[in-house]
Subunit: 120 residues, 2 copies
């Protein structure tokens, strides 16, 4: 803390930077490439959770009635953890590999009701 | 298993009943009652996670741009755990207490990409 204050950062700014980043990614996938897309996504999530302590979860679901509609609950330990994540080789492999499969992507920034809540 | 087979249930049916139930609840809340609604929801989630082992998570977020729009990722250990959940006093308190606050509710049944994934 002393060091941060010495660098001119306020405690409030520090707290905000350590805040979790929680959002919903909503995607629609080309139905003819859904299997391949799921393969890419699964590999990306597995690798992120294994090697990135700042990625707290990437929980992906597809709608039963519309399997091409995917929602991912993304929780990062901080904005910094997120910025590191999108520069990793596994994220870039996913991002570039699935570019032609994703028909639409909406990123919804959110505020969690209970930020510290974990899955059992 | 023997008992279940004796009752005429196939192993496949049993497996399905033990499958996690994962869905997204999408709500729009009356803006004048948002604070009260959040209080009800928080209490309901806290109690459910404390006393119901079959409720694996209820992770609620509100959109930054539209705070009255709430999404809850709900994960139950099984259909049976869900059926028990909706009969608990704490769920009924929430459901009845918030009736006049909820402008719309959409329940989206989903298939998780990686069912066993946990939050860190």
């Amino acid at each position: 803390m002393l060091m941060l204050l010495a660098q001119g950062m306020s405690p409030a700014a520090t707290a905000q930077e350590n805040e979790r980043l929680v959002r919903l990614a909503k995607l629609v996938i080309d139905s003819t490439q859904l299997k391949q897309y799921q393969g890419y996504l699964k590999e990306e999530i597995e690798t992120s959770l294994r090697v990135e302590p700042g990625v707290l979860t990437l929980y992906a679901v597809s709608e039963k009635a519309r399997p091409t509609h995917i929602t991912i609950l993304e929780i990062y330990a901080s904005k910094d953890a997120y910025n590191k994540h999108i520069q990793t080789p596994h994220f870039l492999k996913y991002k570039n590999g699935t570019k032609a499969m994703v028909k639409s992507l909406e990123l919804v920034e959110t505020v969690p009701l209970m930020p510290e809540l974990k899955f059992r």
